[in-house]
């Protein structure tokens, strides 16, 4: 085989020595600039360039040869039996287009199916005690940044607590759930289910309701969120999505930037629609069991919509529209 120009690096200085390289069977040989040697291809490490570029051949003593000639590189790689599959994938447009399709379909599938399923599975593995550890500070933080004490009178609170206790009495697993009353100017008429089985209902929500049946529906809806551990699953989902984003962009730092911090997760509670539907089904099932007209939930939602002008309410905005809910029935 013909010889080609190569650069030899002696691992002493940065000066390249001009040599010619050639193949003798399964041996690589080079001569020139005071160098003359040959070595079996099995004893060298081949480092092909990413994209177009020279082949680097690292010898056992860390000296190295660099060869530019593409035909020579191909022959050498073939003889050495070195299969550079990554370069082959990266060099072809058909593979690139396939990769594009895999990326689009794959990330869509992972975000829509993979992450929610994984979040549910992991949530099942997390013992409820862990939720309670999280709740200890969750409510304290919300009290600091968002809530003021409730001004509802004791008898109203007592009555609603009675309704709440009726709901959680339906399953021994709900025994640790608690109801909290708060006032908030920022979030107005609202109800939240935060980790650790704590359900919060705001004064405005209580005042907005026409009757207790509507409030029972809201409380049952929030207990439904708790029963399905939606807050923990939501947290796991956002962590999973952030991890996928970080893996795709190769930027770990984006996890800290993208992932939601505790107060935002708790308050925005932008539960996905499937969570809302799960909570709704729980509430509807409870209302039916108690013989309460299931239209009460939709009725309250309609009024909530009217009271907020249709925007700027987190609790409401994350819920399926009232008309959609009525259709679901």
């Amino acid at each position: 085989m013909n010889s080609v120009d190569a650069r030899f690096f002696d691992n002493q200085t940065a000066r390249p020595l001009a040599v010619s390289a050639y193949l003798i069977g399964k041996q690589l040989a080079w001569t020139g600039d005071g160098q003359s040697a040959q070595i079996a291809l099995t004893r060298v490490r081949l480092v092909p360039a990413v994209g177009q570029g020279p082949l680097r051949i690292v010898l056992p003593d860390e000296t190295a040869l660099e060869i530019d000639d593409p035909a020579f590189i191909e022959a050498l790689m073939r003889i050495a039996g070195h299969n550079d599959w990554a370069s082959k994938l990266e060099a072809s447009w058909p593979y690139a287009l396939a990769a594009l399709v895999i990326t689009i379909v794959g990330s869509w599938a992972m975000l829509t199916f993979g992450v929610p399923i994984a979040a549910t599975r992991i949530a099942q593995q997390v013992p409820p005690q862990y939720d309670r550890i999280m709740a200890r500070d969750g409510l304290a933080i919300l009290d600091r940044v968002l809530f003021e004490p409730s001004s509802l009178d004791q008898s109203t609170q007592q009555r609603l607590r009675g309704h709440f206790n009726d709901i959680i009495a339906t399953d021994p697993a709900f025994a640790e759930y608690t109801l909290e009353f708060r006032y908030s100017e920022d979030i107005g008429a609202n109800a939240l289910a935060i980790p650790g089985g704590v359900v919060i209902i705001t004064d405005d929500m209580v005042e907005l309701a026409d009757n207790d049946d509507e409030l029972i529906a809201v409380l049952a809806h929030e207990v439904g969120h708790q029963a399905q551990r939606h807050s923990l699953r939501m947290l796991l989902r956002s962590a999973g999505s952030a991890a996928i984003f970080a893996a795709l962009t190769g930027d770990l730092g984006s996890i800290t930037a993208v992932s939601a911090t505790l107060p935002t997760v708790l308050v925005q509670a932008s539960y996905s629609r499937d969570f809302e539907h799960e909570a709704d089904s729980f509430a509807f099932a409870y209302l039916e069991m108690r013989g309460i007209d299931t239209d009460v939930l939709s009725g309250l939602l309609m009024r909530l919509e009217a009271s907020t002008g249709g925007h700027s309410n987190h609790w409401f905005s994350s819920h399926p529209s009232s008309s959609e809910r009525v259709q679901d029935r």
């Binding site: 990413v50 447009w93 991890a243 996890i255």
Partner: protein, 358 residues
């Protein structure tokens, strides 16, 4: 098809400078980029370490100085281990908030306590795995220096209520540059403090001008929006968004200006074994690149990312110059200490400042 790249030369203060050359092109890199993303996805992130190495090998391998090519040698497995540990720390940071209000602060304190170690290990890893003409760069494991530069710098910044920040910045860069080597040849940074203050004051002045300009223009635009849109609430929302966009624009512009000026300042005062370096980045050109890149990436849902990265690398390389008054045999190989990918990954994840320098 292959981009030959451009070489700039110039003569300044008796030295002949020649620029780095960048030969990467979008056509080639797009395929590398998308294949790496797809492989990362189907391997659930594990391939990301290999992807990083291939990306770096493409960009380094296409950067050259007088026909001498850079190369990147990191072991993907080392990077993977580093990322797993960094991810663990990040998860600890994110989830600790749910355990106790002050728990994330503890994680930050741990990272802060590790900073000197992280900086040295990270810088060692990066430089040790970078070569030019088969000679590795390196970083001296100067933990005392890191301790002084980072904690001393933090202390002086806090004690002087921020007015000492340029002093801290100078310490940090002197530490980073003076411990860097190419083979046995040492880099050295000798830069007067007043140059740092001059940039800081200019940036401060520009910020004030920017705020005045923003204040006035928000008033003007606000008046126009108010008359154009009848709905008061909608008008308020529109004005809020315009203000926010302008704030980001001005803040971004000043950030780019200071970064570019500091970068030029440091490179221009850095020597390698007496051979001078030079950086001719223009803040306006860089801001233009960033802005157009941002729009292109947003409008193509990310598909323009390879194009954006290539043109940025090209501009950076072609405006980084070296006084070409050396012979390659002047640079001898050194026995290098190993760095740590854990240090690098953790430093990246928590944005520990190691990247200013050269």
């Amino acid at each position: 098809m292959e981009d030959a790249g451009n070489i700039r030369t110039l003569t300044s203060a008796g030295a002949n400078f020649t620029s780095l050359r960048f030969t990467g092109n979008t056509n080639e890199y797009f395929k590398i980029w998308i294949v790496n993303i797809a492989l990362t996805l189907v391997t659930l992130g594990i391939y990301s370490a290999w992807a990083t190495v291939r990306k770096n090998r493409y960009f380094y391998g296409n950067t050259s100085l007088n026909d001498a090519r850079f190369d990147y040698h990191a072991e993907p497995r080392a990077i993977l281990v580093g990322r797993v540990i960094a991810t663990f720390f990040l998860a600890l940071y994110v989830f600790s908030e749910y355990i106790h209000f002050y728990a994330p602060l503890v994680v930050i304190l741990i990272i802060f306590a590790l900073t000197p170690w992280l900086v040295v290990r990270s810088k060692s890893f990066k430089l040790r795995n970078t070569s030019l003409n088969n000679v590795r760069f390196g970083f001296n494991p100067d933990y005392n220096g890191a301790f002084k530069a980072y904690y001393g710098g933090a202390l002086i910044t806090v004690v002087t209520l921020g007015f000492g920040a340029p002093i801290a910045l100078r310490w940090r860069n002197q530490f980073l540059v003076n411990n860097s080597r190419f083979g046995k040849s040492a880099f050295a940074l000798d830069v007067p403090l007043e140059e740092f203050y001059s940039i800081a004051f200019r940036a401060f002045g520009l910020s004030i001008l920017a705020y005045i300009a923003m204040f006035l223009s928000v008033f003007a635009i606000g008046a126009m929006v108010d008359t154009a849109i009848a709905d008061q609430q909608l008008a308020a929302t529109v004005i809020t968004y315009i203000t926010l966009a302008m704030l980001l624009l001005f803040y971004g512009a000043i950030l780019v200006y200071t970064q570019v000026r500091y970068r030029n300042l440091i490179a221009d005062h850095t020597t390698l074994d007496g051979h001078r370096l030079r950086s001719d980045w223009s803040a306006a050109a860089m801001a233009g690149l960033y802005l157009t890149n941002l729009f292109a990436i947003a409008l193509t849902f990310g598909l323009a990312t390879p194009w954006a990265q290539i043109r940025l690398a090209k501009y950076r390389a072609e405006n980084t110059l070296v006084a070409a008054d050396f012979a390659w045999e002047d640079f001898a190989v050194a026995e290098g200490e190993a760095g740590s990918a854990v240090g690098e990954a953790l430093g990246d994840a928590f944005d520990v400042g190691v990247d200013i320098g050269f």
